[in-house]
Each structure stands twice: as structure tokens, then as C-alpha cells.
């Protein structure tokens, strides 16, 4: 086959192709796990702890067991399994102690939801309530109660994590680059400050839901809203010591996930209920309230940043201390800690760096992956800090950032050398700044300010992120030709709204030189039928799966060319193809159709040759390494996607009320595969980022009770909360190992929206905001409670 032949088939990559899944979703025909019903299906309900920390003295389930229609009742006592992604620290049901408000202590499977609810009410639990540890900073104290006294006995992934037995610390990640003391000695200014943000909820519109059937002979089938079918299967099999070929995971349409549905959640509990109920399928869907505390959230963070800057405004040293609140279980929080640590300085050239990142247990619902994987949280502090440092040294914040940006030849915190193909953070920053007319007010804005009495401010912020994944992350794609010449692509990367099915169809169509209409990406994911994929997380899907799809297309074409060469009595080198047929280049009239080759070619006399055309493609992240545990040096990044936001905000200086007039964001995606889906994913992330910036937060009382587990009390943005103007900008610096030059942008739109907003409010009013979310009252407080700037400066040039 020839890669250089020009084809009449239009390139499908880069076009605004309509989403391949929209008709099913627009007509109500798309089936989600929450829509599935099976014969004999039972419904589960869960008894939850009303306490943040308590001993379980006794559980009486006899009344529930005697309720007609109840088929299984479970408590932690009869379940001896440990679950955990990186640290196996979680029981399926709390055994002797509860560690957070809302934790599952007992469960019921019954013939209807109503019976199951009544049965759960009939379970009596006697607790001895204990004082909880609610702040991660308190949990570091030697006198703090231990959330996991048995931490030292837990299994964990030793290559990446470092639990500290006898403490509340399931992981510390360290990064050491250059000479931190020399860097600070060289600095003319040293500025040190602390930034905080609380836990938040992912709020997928479809709450977590699963149906599990554990039949005789240990035949287990799981239908779930999970993001990551193979990781779910792996964790499930490890917990129950089952062979992988006994457990099948099926993922239908998923109603939003955002990281909250990665890993494993309710499936083990439902499996145990099914087994106890004689193998009947058992379904559970979390209520909106349960979504907040029976299921995980995003970790809170306290970020302490100390920065040294020389006379020219160059950063000479940075000490970065991260205190991550993992809540009651380590889950993804230990890896959020690790990924944030090696990314902690942002897209800046920092010659001397020291990072200590702690994951810390507390008695609160546990933290998991959430879009951005730590970067939304730490970029809040980092990009506020850059603003405040610029203010201290008297340099324009944009100039200060530009001066310190990574450029070809710079090295990251882990020692990776950046080159001109890595991406262009400067172009992103300049595009975002230009889109908001940074640094000045337009005549219209001047007029608006005069008319309203409100102050208009402008802020920018940068971002970067690499996929947080094992160094050897791998995936595969299978492409099968149907007998009419159309194809079906099988992958285990899930479609959770991000548009994977559409861009995979485009990339396959482009590589095959077929119209997109000939390519179907199978809707369900099924671990018995689909080839392996690690997880649908980390913004790695486009690059890894895209490369696997390209390889699968090439494999299929190789087979087709080989069979066609025989049919046409030609060498494969002489062949070319279009969307319908393979032909001899010199004599295109001599050809054979893909349809005729698709399931084996048949000669006029009835002889058959060849066979079904099935292409297999595999792709493994190239050349990545584990990080050294003491220095953090190594190559963790598949790719870096850079970006920047510009925000224009209008603030009432009297009341602190504000409004976002405009957000403009630029991302270096390498190559836009589909402008429509990319823009949608970006705007969705930018608005989710504004939600986290403006209002979203878990609120606890002093006993660790969650006070706002609803969409009324934990608001997400509505259509009425949108900025007046939203602009999304693509930068295309091709990624050398990216499919068509592309790199992922799933998480990035959400990162650094909050500091861009706060920087704009700061510009308008001088409010020195250090806590996210930025509510109106926080702005008011910051305006009226300004601290002298030298509070934060520990070294400054003599005046």
C-alpha cells in the first residue's frame, strides 16, 4: 500500500463530523446502566453511618431478615475482602469501625426498592461514637487519632507509593531538583504563602449504578456505570481471588463520570449480595444524597509555596509542600498526590525545586480521581502565587509568567527535557491574553465601568498536565470488516460523553480512507469481547487508543492487500485503494472490492481464499519510567498538554458580588481531530472549572457530618450562571507520537480557571484571595481585610 498516494476521499480528521452517538441519546434510545432491568433482578439498599468516626458495637439485622421479600442481608462481619486501587485499605462494608459519615455498614437485597428501603430501616446499629479527625493538618499531629491503625499491614503498590505506618500518611511523594538552598541564596526576593481548597463533588447527572450477578460456578457478570472496565475487573478479581475469565464487565452508555467512576465502587458489595441471594442479579443506584458521601469526592488541599526570585524576575528556587486530604481511604488520592507532585511547579522553568507531597487520612468521605487529577486544586494555589509574587516584585503578571515559562531546552521537575514538539505554552498564554485585551480596558469596558460603578478586572493563568498513569500503560483496538465493506471498531476505552466514539470513528475512517459512515464504534464495552485498555482516565485515551486504532487499520489493510494481490495477480506494492475497492495503481480498472474480500474471497469456481478481515492494533506508552522514590527523577509524562485562560470579571467593590464577563481559553492539542467535539469538551470543562471556582464545596459541621449533600445546597452552575462570552482557542503544535499529531485535552479546560478568575477579581479590587471557591462573601472579606504585603515576604532587597 502507498501512504503517499493522493486519495479522492476527504480527510476525516480535522472535520466537524457530527457525533456518532447523538441520535441514540437524543431519542431516549441510549441505554444506561440505570435503565437496565433483568429477569429475577433484586434491588439493593445500604445502611449508612451517621457518624464520622465510631466503633460498631453491635448490628442487629434479624428484623430486616424476617421482612417478606428480603433475599439477602449483609454486614461487614461476614465479608473478609480488602479493596484498594493502590493501597488495599477498604472493607466492602465497615467491619468494626466506621471512618466517615455516610459509610456503608450493612446492605439488603430485596424484591423491590421499597422493600429494601424498609428493611434497611429495620437494621439496628449500636455505635460508640469517637471524636473524628477532620482536617488533614490536624491529622499530621502526633496526638491525632489514627484513621487506619493497621496501615502497616495493608498491601500496596510498592513501586510508586510510600505508606508511613503509625501515622495518618498513606503516601509521601518527593521531588528533588537542583540545589534548593543555593537557589534561595541566589534569590533577591523570597515569597511564601499558603492556599487552600475544600472537597467537592463530581456531580455526574447519572449517579453511580451497577447490577451484579454472581451465579453458581463463580460466573460473575457486572453491568456498571464504571469508566474503566478492565481495571474494575482486575480489582474485583484480586479482592475475591477469582480468575479473570470468570468475571465479565459490561459498560453501556455512561451518564457522565469525570473521574468519579474510575476504579471500583459498589460492585463488590452487590456481588456479595447476589451470591447470598442465590445468584439473582442485584441492582443499586445511588441517590443524589448518597452520591456525596457513600461514594467518593475530590480531595481537599493545603498548598504551601515558597518562591525565590532574582533581580530579573526569574524564579531561582521553589519549595512546594502539598497536604492532600484523602478522607477515610487512599483510593486514587495517593496517586493524585504523586501526579501533582511531579507537575507541581506548573509550566515553568524552575532550576531548583523541592516538593514534599503528603496524602493524609481523615474521617471524611474519601477522595478519588476528578477531572484534572489534582491539577485543578494545586494550580489554584500556584497561579494565585504567581500573581502575588509578580505584585511583590513589581512586575506585570503576564510578563513574569512569560519570563519563566518552559521553553525548548528547559527541564521539568523530574528532569525531562522539553523540546519544540512538546507543545507551546507561550502561544497559549499569548492567545488567551489577547482574547481578553489583557492589561487594559477597552473604551466599551471603560464606559461600562463608569455606568455601573463596578470595577472590571482581567486575569490570566497557565496550566499543564500529563496523563497520570503507569509508565507501561497499554491499550489495543480491533477493527472487523463486515461483508458489505463497513467496519466495526472494538475498544475498551469507554464513551462517557467526551466524544471518544466519534473521534475514534474519524481516525479509523481517515486511516482507512473510508467515509465515517462506514465506521461503527461498538457502543457497549465488554471485557469478554473487547481488547484490553487500562482505564478511561488521565486524558490519555486519544493518544494511546488513537495510535492503536491506526495500527489496527494498517493491520486490516495489510491483510486486505495481501488477499487482493493474490486475486489481482499483483504485488502489494502495486496496489492502492479507495473506500470501496483495492486496485492496481497503473490500471485502476483492475480491482477487487473490500466487500468481496471482507469474509474471504470466492473465485467463480467456488474456491475460497483469505478469510475475515480483522485488524489488531496495540500501543504502549513509549519510554516512560518509574520515578525515583527519593528524588522523584524520571520520565512520567506521555505528553504535556499546555493551556491558558483569560478571564474578565466585573466586581462590585462595596459588596464583593461579581460576574464573569468573559472567559477565553487556549489549549495546545497538537491536532484538532474534531473542532465541534473539542470545543464542546473544552467549554464544558471551562464551565465546570468556573463551578469549582465560584461555588462548589463540601460543608461539614464540627462532628464531620456533611451538611450539603444535594444540588440545592451544593450548587453547580446553571445556564444562567454562564459568562456573557466564551471563547475556545486551539493551538496545534504536533505531538510526534500522537495520532495525526494529536494529544489529549479532556481534563485541561477545567484546570486553572479558578486562579484566572481570582486574578481578574484581584486586578479589579486588590482582593488577595487564597481560598477556593471564591464566593461573594470571600471577595468582600478579602477587599476589607487586606494584609500588608510584606507579611508574606521573607526576603527582599534593601530599599
Amino acid at each position: 500500500m502507498s501512504d503517499t498516494t493522493t486519495s479522492s476521499v476527504a480527510t476525516r480528521v480535522g472535520d466537524s463530523v457530527q457525533r456518532v452517538d447523538d441520535t441514540a441519546k437524543l431519542t431516549g434510545g441510549a441505554m444506561y446502566a440505570s435503565d437496565l432491568v433483568f429477569a429475577g433482578m433484586l434491588h439493593a439498599q445500604v445502611k449508612k453511618s451517621p457518624h464520622a468516626r465510631a466503633k460498631i458495637v453491635a448490628i442487629n439485622t434479624s428484623k430486616a431478615e424476617n421482612l417478606p421479600g428480603v433475599h439477602a442481608v449483609l454486614t461487614g462481619k461476614e465479608l473478609n475482602y480488602r479493596i484498594g486501587l493502590y493501597v488495599a485499605d477498604k472493607d466492602i462494608l465497615a467491619k468494626d469501625a466506621v471512618r466517615h459519615f455516610g459509610e456503608a455498614v450493612a446492605a439488603v437485597a430485596a424484591e423491590s426498592l421499597d422493600i429494601a428501603s424498609r428493611a434497611v430501616d429495620l437494621i439496628d446499629v449500636e455505635y460508640e461514637v469517637l471524636p473524628p479527625v477532620l482536617s488533614q493538618m490536624d491529622a499530621l499531629d502526633e496526638s491525632s487519632p489514627l484513621v487506619h491503625p493497621d496501615l502497616g499491614s495493608y498491601d500496596y503498590v510498592k513501586a510508586s507509593f510510600s505508606p508511613q505506618p503509625g501515622t495518618n500518611i498513606p503516601n509521601i511523594t518527593k521531588i528533588r531538583k537542583g540545589d534548593i538552598d543555593a537557589g534561595f541564596a541566589e534569590a533577591k526576593w523570597i515569597i511564601e504563602r499558603e492556599y487552600t481548597n475544600p472537597s467537592v463533588q463530581h456531580v455526574p447527572l447519572e449517579t453511580h449504578v451497577a447490577i451484579v450477578e454472581w451465579k453458581a460456578g463463580d460466573e460473575v457478570t457486572i453491568w456498571s456505570s464504571a469508566q474503566s472496565p478492565f481495571t474494575l475487573r482486575d480489582l474485583f478479581c484480586r479482592a475475591f481471588k477469582l480468575p479473570h475469565n470468570k468475571v465479565r464487565v459490561v459498560i453501556p452508555h455512561v451518564g457522565g463520570a469525570f473521574g468519579g467512576k474510575a476504579g471500583i465502587h459498589l460492585e463488590p458489595l452487590l456481588a456479595c449480595l447476589s451470591r447470598k441471594a442465590g445468584g439473582r442479579p442485584v441492582k443499586f443506584q445511588a441517590t443524589r444524597e448518597e452520591e456525596f458521601s457513600l461514594l467518593p469526592c475530590r480531595s481537599a488541599l493545603t498548598y504551601r509555596i515558597k518562591t525565590g526570585v532574582d533581580a530579573d524576575g526569574r524564579i531561582t528556587a521553589q519549595k512546594l509542600l502539598m497536604y492532600w486530604d484523602s478522607g477515610a481511604y487512599a483510593d486514587y488520592a495517593v496517586n493524585v498526590t504523586r501526579a501533582s507532585a511531579y507537575s507541581a511547579g506548573g509550566p515553568y522553568d524552575i532550576p531548583n525545586a523541592w516538593v514534599d507531597a503528603y496524602t493524609i487520612y481523615t474521617n471524611k468521605p474519601w477522595g478519588t480521581a476528578y477531572r484534572g487529577f489534582g491539577h485543578v486544586e494545586f494550580f489554584w494555589g500556584l497561579e494565585r502565587h504567581m500573581e502575588l509574587v509578580a505584585q511583590v516584585i513589581g512586575m506585570d503578571p503576564l510578563e513574569f509568567r512569560k519570563k519563566n515559562l518552559l521553553k525548548p531546552g528547559s527541564t521539568t521537575l523530574t528532569g525531562e527535557r522539553i523540546n519544540e514538539h512538546t507543545g507551546n505554552p507561550l502561544k497559549c498564554l499569548e492567545a488567551a491574553a489577547k482574547a481578553i485585551n489583557y492589561g487594559r480596558l477597552t473604551p466599551e469596558e471603560e464606559e461600562r465601568q463608569a455606568r455601573t460603578g463596578r470595577r472590571i478586572g482581567k486575569g490570566i493563568a497557565t496550566l499543564h498536565k500529563a496523563p497520570a498513569m503507569p509508565s507501561f500503560t497499554t491499550t489495543a483496538a480491533v477493527i472487523k470488516m463486515n461483508s458489505d465493506g463497513s467496519v466495526v471498531v472494538n475498544i475498551a476505552l469507554t464513551e462517557i460523553g467526551q466524544g471518544t466514539a466519534t473521534v475514534v470513528a474519524q481516525m479509523a475512517a481517515d486511516r482507512l480512507r473510508f467515509p465515517v459512515s462506514l465506521v461503527k464504534v461498538a457502543v457497549e464495552r465488554d471485557t469478554d469481547k473487547d481488547p484490553f485498555d487500562w482505564q478511561t482516565v488521565a486524558s490519555k485515551g486519544l493518544l494511546l487508543t488513537g495510535n492503536a486504532v491506526i495500527a489496527a487499520c494498517d493491520d486490516l489493510l495489510r491483510q486486505a492487500y495481501s488477499d487482493a494481490a493474490q486475486v489481482l495477480r499483483a504485488q502489494t506494492a502495486d496496489l492502492d485503494h479507495d473506500a470501496e475497492r483495492i486496485f492496481i495503481m497503473q490500471r485502476p480498472e483492475e480491482s477487487v472490492t473490500f466487500a468481496a474480500l471482507s469474509i474471504g474471497y470466492v473465485y467463480p469456481n467456488g474456491n475460497g481464499i483469505g478469510g475475515p478481515l480483522i485488524g489488531l492494533g496495540r500501543y504502549t506508552a513509549q519510554g516512560l519510567t518509574s520515578l525515583d522514590k527519593e528524588t522523584g527523577q524520571g520520565l512520567p509524562a506521555l505528553d504535556w498538554t499546555y493551556g491558558a485562560h483569560g478571564v474578565i470579571a466585573e466586581v462590585d467593590p462595596e459588596t464583593g458580588e461579581y460576574k464573569v464577563i468573559k472567559i477565553a481559553s487556549a489549549f495546545d492539542v497538537g491536532k484538532v481531530i474534531n473542532p465541534g467535539t473539542m470545543r464542546g469538551q473544552c467549554i464544558g470543562g471551562m464551565i465546570q472549572g468556573l463551578g469549582t471556582a465560584q461555588c462548589e464545596s463540601y460543608i461539614y459541621d464540627g462532628h464531620g457530618h456533611l451538611l450539603n449533600p444535594s444540588l440545592t445546597d451544593n450548587k453547580i452552575l446553571t445556564s444562567k450562571d454562564l459568562p456573557e462570552e466564551i471563547e475556545c482557542i486551539a493551538v496545534e503544535t504536533p505531538q510526534l507520537d500522537g495520532p495525526f499529531g494529536a494529544r489529549g485535552v479532556g481534563e485541561h479546560p477545567m484546570i486553572s480557571v479558578a486562579p484566572a478568575l481570582a486574578n481578574a477579581i484581584h486586578d479589579a479590587t486588590g482582593a488577595e484571595l487564597t481560598h477556593m471557591p471564591v464566593r461573594f462573601e470571600d471577595v468582600w472579606r478579602a477587599i476589607h481585610n487586606k494584609q500588608p504585603i510584606d507579611t508574606w515576604v521573607t526576603k527582599a532587597p534593601a530599599v
Binding site: 437524543l26 431516549g28 444506561y32 447527572l205 464542546g680 444535594s710 446553571t718 444562567k720 466564551i726
Partner: protein
């Protein structure tokens, strides 16, 4: 109680559990699962359906209240398998991502356009305010409504900018 209700042009006669909501009745009794349940508390708008021609949150209405009523759900929106104009505009403008809010969103847009065939952006935002969407950031849904109401051309269509 025994009830009779017309849903998407079909008459259903059923014994209905008194405390069941219209949402549970539609999803569990009639197996019309296109209408989604996002909160069961009237907060998210996922379950928006037409009850006697007016958009309601089906989780906030008892099934019994629909006795003798006419109900329309997303399953009736694409007549004879062809996407309605609203649905086609959603598809054209990438107004769908995970799809879980889509049914309710389409219903609310239909309600809005029935009262106001050429809504302004502010009116569109007001019209879909009760429908939460966590994926799209609403922008492309707003553009879809401008499109279907004839207020957008290929020149004014929102787009990705390249630098």
C-alpha cells in the same frame, strides 16, 4: 389506584402505587427509560416531560395526578424515526455529550419555543435554567436553540478558533 393515562399517543390503564411519582411510573411501569432520574428531588430537570402540554419535573408529580392526562416523553419526539427539528439542531451544534440530561433538555426547549419562537440568549438561559448539564457547559445547547429558531447562520455559528 386504577388509572388511565395517554402517553405518547397510547392509552395505558394500570393499577398504580399511590406514592409512586410519574417518573417511576414512566420508567418502571411503562419501561419508557428515555426519561432520566438525576436527583428525584426536582433539582436537576433530567426527568422533564410534558404533562397536558406543560413541561413538568416528573419526579415532582405523583403518577396518580396524571390520571386522565396526556403525557409526552422524549420517546415521542422523533416522529417516525426522524429527528425533530430541535433534536436535529442539538446534533448539528454538538449539544449532546454524555446524553443523560438530553431528554429533559429537549423537553424544556420545546416548552420554551412553544411560548417564544424566537427567544433571545437571555431568554434561552432562563428557559433551560432548571435543567442541569455537567458536560457541555450549556453553550452549544444555547446555540442549538438559536439555530432551530432561525437565529443562527453558518457565519454566526459558534466555532473553535485557531491560532
Amino acid at each position: 389506584m386504577w388509572m388511565s393515562v395517554e402517553v405518547n399517543g397510547h392509552i395505558y390503564e394500570r393499577e398504580v402505587t399511590e406514592h409512586w411519582t410519574l417518573l417511576r411510573f414512566l420508567r418502571e411501569d411503562l419501561e419508557l427509560t428515555g426519561t432520566k432520574d438525576g436527583c428525584s428531588a426536582g433539582e436537576c430537570g433530567d426527568c422533564t416531560v410534558m404533562l397536558n402540554g406543560e413541561a413538568v419535573n416528573a419526579c415532582m408529580v405523583l403518577a396518580a395526578e396524571a390520571d386522565g392526562a396526556t403525557v409526552e416523553t422524549i420517546e415521542a419526539e422523533a416522529a417516525k424515526g426522524e429527528l425533530s427539528e430541535i433534536q436535529a439542531a442539538f446534533a448539528r451544534n454538538y449539544a449532546v455529550q454524555c446524553g443523560y440530561c438530553t431528554a429533559g433538555m429537549v423537553m424544556s426547549v420545546r416548552e420554551l419555543l412553544r411560548h417564544n419562537p424566537k427567544p433571545t440568549v437571555a431568554e434561552i438561559k432562563e428557559g433551560i435554567e432548571g435543567n442541569l448539564c455537567r458536560c457541555t457547559g450549556y453553550q452549544q445547547i444555547i446555540e442549538a436553540v438559536l439555530d432551530v429558531s432561525g437565529q443562527i447562520t453558518n457565519e454566526t455559528r459558534g466555532g473553535l478558533k485557531y491560532v
